[in-house]
């Protein structure tokens, strides 16, 4: 294997790694958001259908706060990954 082929092979491998890890993070991050959205929608729907239950407002607001926090974390993580 000559120098040029070596370089090319390594470049390809690096490329694949970069795009691969990027996509894995992109996909799973998306999945985090979609999953959270889904859970929130379903919990709200369940709540509506069980609206005789006592009020969980505090709980819910705490939850919203948590979600926002998570969002922040993920954004930071993505930034870090890009910067790394």
């Amino acid at each position: 294997m000559n120098m040029e082929q070596q370089t090319e092979l390594i470049a390809e491998a690096l490329n694949l790694t970069l795009f691969g890890m990027g996509f894995v993070f992109l996909f799973l991050t998306l999945l985090v958001f979609v999953t959270k959205a889904m859970s929130i929608i379903i919990q709200k729907m369940n709540k509506q259908s069980h609206d005789d239950d006592t009020h969980h407002d505090d709980n819910l607001s705490l939850k919203d706060e948590l979600d926002e926090e998570t969002k922040f974390v993920i954004e930071q993580a993505i930034k870090m990954h890009r910067g790394a």
Partner: protein, 376 residues
């Protein structure tokens, strides 16, 4: 006399080459690991036995119309066996802990760096002339770091069928070695205080969420990475059968008779790829070493990701659950739990570790899809 000659000429003793003798010993080693050491016996026992059958001199069981070769062509070359196993794994998976704490999906993402680091390593070793792996070989080897047997076998059958035997053996062996490989890495990368972190109780997850999740997962795959759709599709299908609650008889059969039957023939068929002339190459040694490295790096990245996430979050994660992101379900989650108990005897991390654990299955399948898309 002529008959006696023929008989002698056809004995295994007379036809054996040293490699076959060695592989018979390797087969017996695998049986020993499976039976005495209890290393993933469901796979290593059939693989070990298949390896023995494949290396009987003159029998040709793993070639031409030999029965193991038939099993290989029908079940593995077609992709059917690993996909059916993945369906069964789906039917055995509970996404509850993941749904209760979705951000642990990111731990499953980070642990996949082991896959790509290994790919880089394999190419590096090729560049410096130690081994001679193509890019497809390197990708198939890297997937060992995903710690999912069926994913490894599926990818290897597509990208590097000649290496399939070594890759499968490495994959299942290291999955069995998770309790030995991971703890030192986990301890080295965490402080005592971090290991003592207690996590908040997981919320209960409704059945609706569990039903919608596999469909949603499949849709996302369909839209973004169709090459991962066979693997994650069958996985999601198995899970949906279980969670929907309307096809219990199908789900029960998938979790029992079907997965068992396929496991037997998958194991034998994989064993058929351990024929001496294919397996006894320097490449095999490289695969074994690189596979181990992949596991170690995946473990480390999972832990480091957890620590990184803690930097930006009030709600701290115990970094010991990061290592479960390599999958190896449920072994890796149990390891997280065990190491956690050493530092804090009241801290049960098992359920928390199940989130990244199943996230790792998804992550590896995504990585596998990428490899197949770029190189398949």
């Amino acid at each position: 006399m002529e008959h006696l000659n023929l008989l002698w000429n056809n004995t295994g003793l007379n036809q054996m080459v040293w490699g076959q003798g060695l592989m018979l010993l390797v087969g017996m080693l695998l049986l020993y690991l499976a039976i005495v050491k209890n290393f993933e016996p469901l796979l290593l026992l059939p693989i070990g036995f298949g390896a023995i059958l494949a290396n009987i001199p003159g029998a040709g069981i793993a070639e031409g119309s030999g029965i193991l070769h038939v099993f290989y062509v029908v079940g593995i070359e077609s992709g059917a066996f690993p996909l059916i196993i993945f369906m069964g794994v789906g039917a055995l998976t509970d996404f509850g802990p993941l749904l209760a704490n979705p951000k642990t999906l990111l731990l499953g993402a980070a642990a996949q760096f082991g896959i790509f680091a290994t790919l880089l390593g394999a190419i590096g070793l090729t560049a410096v002339g130690i081994f001679d792996f193509s890019l497809t070989d390197a990708a198939a080897i890297g997937i060992i770091g995903g710690a999912d047997g069926p994913t490894s076998i599926y990818v290897a059958s597509k990208l590097a069928p000649d290496l399939l035997g070594a890759i499968a053996v490495a994959s299942y062996s290291y999955m069995a070695l998770v309790p030995l490989i991971q703890p030192p890495i986990m301890r080295a990368l965490t402080t005592e205080k971090e290991r003592q972190i207690e996590m908040v109780q997981l919320r209960e997850v409704s059945q609706s969420e569990k039903i919608i999740f596999p469909i949603m997962l499949l849709m996302l795959v369909a839209l973004l990475l169709p090459d991962a759709a066979p693997l994650l599709g069958m996985f999601a299908f198995g899970n949906l059968m279980k969670e929907s609650g309307v096809v219990d008889r199908l789900s029960d059969t998938t979790q029992n008779a079907l997965i068992n039957i396929v496991t037997i023939f998958l194991g034998l068929a994989v064993g058929s790829k351990l024929m001496a002339d294919k397996f006894l190459q320097t490449e095999t040694l490289g695969i074994l070493v690189l596979g181990m490295v992949a596991f170690a790096i995946g473990t480390a990245c999972g832990v480091i990701m957890a620590k990184t996430m803690n930097l930006f979050s009030k709600n701290k994660i115990n970094p010991l659950i990061g290592s479960a992101g390599v999958s190896a379900v449920p072994m890796a989650a149990r390891v997280s739990n065990k190491v956690g108990l050493e530092s804090n005897p009241h801290n049960f991390l098992l359920m928390h570790a199940m989130g990244p654990n199943v996230a790792g299955v998804i992550g590896s399948a995504i990585a596998a899809g990428i490899m197949i898309q770029f190189l398949g």
